[in-house]
Symmetry: C2
DNA sequence: ATGTGACTAATAGTCCGTT
DNA sequence: TAACGGACTATTAGTCACA
């Protein structure tokens, strides 16, 4: 079984940094605790769908995207 | 904000029925209560990533797929 | 075979701090 | 700025009786 918590964490961090947000800023904006964001990024937390959706929304992406393994080479999407 | 609980529920039901499983059978196989599956399909539950991943695995799909809006007309994917 | 409300046990999620 | 721990509270995980 894939480690989706880890995939989520990696994607989240990448997306957050792409928007040049600190964990603290992100956390504050979506009203989630900063230590919780930290835990999710490290793959040690098991967030609920609502939290995943909330984060995705702020990072201008989707839950599906945050849960997609990065190395998947989907050319057709960004083209 | 999109209702991802609902999207998940719809996709889950579709995927389950495609495999001709009853809620009861699915629930039994992945060791989750039947009524809990029912709640997720109806979009009234807010499951954690672990639960979503477990269900996805049994339905031979992925969390990302279960969280993707169906009516999204993404031509490039299946073509 | 599924929907639903109500319920406890477990854990998601917060808030405090230190490194 | 972020990792990490401990103690706390809110919500989810998981179960039941019944429609």
């Amino acid at each position: 079984m894939e480690n989706y918590k880890r995939i989520l964490g990696q994607n989240l961090r990448k997306a957050r940094e792409a928007l040049q947000l600190s964990q603290e800023e992100l956390a504050h904006e979506i009203d989630i605790d900063r230590t919780y964001i930290s835990g999710i990024e490290r793959g040690v937390r098991n967030p609920s769908l609502d939290v995943i959706a909330k984060i995705a929304q702020r990072l201008k992406t989707t839950p599906a995207a945050l849960l997609t393994r990065p190395a998947q080479s989907r050319r057709s999407e960004s083209a």
